[in-house]
Symmetry: D3
């Protein structure tokens, strides 16, 4: 038995991907990533929610705000890292997990069992990452 609440945001970035696997995506190109951040808990809190959705949306917006309208190839934090859709899911989920553990999402945020992040890169492809808290 578990509850999940999800909020959606987006980011618009340039990047390139290293490795023959990526074919033309080895060139500098870009993507809009529609970001769905899901917070899971076994029980609801006293207010009847998984987590304060306002704080959750704000935390997500801070994280996407620090990434959007940038060329990820030029961001020191991604030096040597392929910023694939999968990897960006993990980066965003980990940052949300840090905020949740740090109390940024309020007391309910510290009781979450897991966080999942899905990034839609187009209408025909998306990726997700799920991790325990």
């Amino acid at each position: 038995m578990s509850f999940i609440v999800t909020v959606r945001d987006h980011l618009m970035v340039a990047h390139s991907l290293s490795g023959e696997t990526f074919g033309p995506a080895q060139r500098l190109h870009g993507a809009t990533f529609i970001v769905d951040a899901s917070f899971r808990a076994d029980e609801l809190d006293a207010d009847g929610v998984v987590v304060d959705i306002g704080r959750a949306a704000e935390a997500l917006r801070e994280i996407t705000g620090a990434l959007t309208y940038r060329n990820l190839d030029d961001e020191p934090e991604f030096a040597g890292i392929n910023t694939t859709t999968e990897r960006l899911c993990q980066v965003i989920a980990d940052r949300l997990a840090d905020r949740a553990a740090g109390g940024v999402l309020g007391p309910s945020g510290t009781r979450l069992s897991s966080i999942a992040v899905t990034l839609h890169e187009s209408h025909i492809a998306w990726a997700s990452y799920e991790r325990a808290l």
Copy 2:
């Protein structure tokens, strides 16, 4: 290994939420909830389905029909309960579980392993509840 079948319906309700967490949503307002009800089974039945989708859709429509076009603040069944999106997911899932156990979904409905309900409150926020049967 498992199979899931999902049907979609919706309800349109007024309500208010108690607790400072909810900010302006403490005022009487409203929502369209797009409802996705998912039925899971480990095996398909002799017809090759998880459950009779016609019966599943009808059961969901009865449940949403009893909630829609109402002010949930005035419904005795919700007295003292915050009708958050998460809580409404649980209410609908529990009612579907009761119907499944009671045979309303047919014999296959009694073999289900779990039910999940997602309520979309907008294009940028939704919640889910999943429970075993």
Copy 3:
């Protein structure tokens, strides 16, 4: 030949509708309205846009912000008015038109040929209103 730019927002309101036509919707209920506001121009401005999308989104957010999380039946501005989806489209479009004419959207906003607003009340019903400027 014309260009259109559209931004999406939403509002969550309670209301009731007067008239036998509305059946159960005569009761106090509610809706999430996903709002798409479209701005049309015959030519792009010097920046290559119909209108500053940031200003357009902000104008729309101000308008939806003044309506959301409310019971429209209690709002003086709607006294004696059926707040149907169609009518709310018109209200929002007219407010956007006023802002455009008043220069709130910037100089390009004063050259628009028309504004259209669509409100999605569910996944199976929506309404629109289009007017010249």
Copy 4:
């Protein structure tokens, strides 16, 4: 902790379903199935992906290409089988699993933990099948 990548495709088929459960769907009719194929892994590969998304999409297209624009009632492979949405999910997932095990998706495809396939038969109904690899 796990990663998922999903690609979308579709098929357009005629078929009929055997069994009173299906009511009018016992007649020869048809469906567009929007197909979402999801590949899950515990870790990303050296390129930072679950699986080469180009190969995954191509494998899915081969499988849907062998089914689409056909009357499934006339296909020998489905003789005596009800081609329900659930069953078609399983067929497609099993074919993807065979290709993954056979190396068609590349080395990363052999490390997948599970495959899930969802078929959307309309805007109000869909089914899924998930299996381990």
Copy 5:
């Protein structure tokens, strides 16, 4: 200045298409058509609506109900007619127009200026037909 209201329904049919243009779609296959029916008027009626949305949805359901779960190749009404997505849009729009003119949609239905029907055959293709009343 005009108002539009739209309702969504769907149909699931088998058919084949005559002509080399259609390639593999010359074979018997099928489709789910998501149907959006739009009703346009210059002014709202006394209730504040374009047309009674309940009657509009019911009229559409009658029309889709007479087409769905069938093989259109066997329907006498389509003898010698290619049941392309475009043509089916026209058939449905014309039937709605007849009902509107006949008063089935109520008095407001006789004041409509136009009807448009869109059929989505997949997530990547759709067609529309618009006609005056």
Copy 6:
């Protein structure tokens, strides 16, 4: 009275926008543009279609294929041009119009009355351009 057929594709590009209006979008960033190309005609051809949808989709794919996985700031064809969503709509529509006029879409493509292109840059913003043929 008119018919429209629409096909969807997408492109993934890096670019930057010149002008204070664009705020952070003046930096090099990127976008996935979901592209909807619509072809309008007053009458259907002998096959019962607006235009051969296969040829239309292929023409669109050639045009998006020449743009995708690139940094538009480095493309000579866009030197001195702000590659806004609106402008890219026009570029794609004009290229489709050239192909239509040149017979690439077949004889029916030369009878089209207009072409419209919509680019969705996110779930909350999109732009369109429509032109006569």
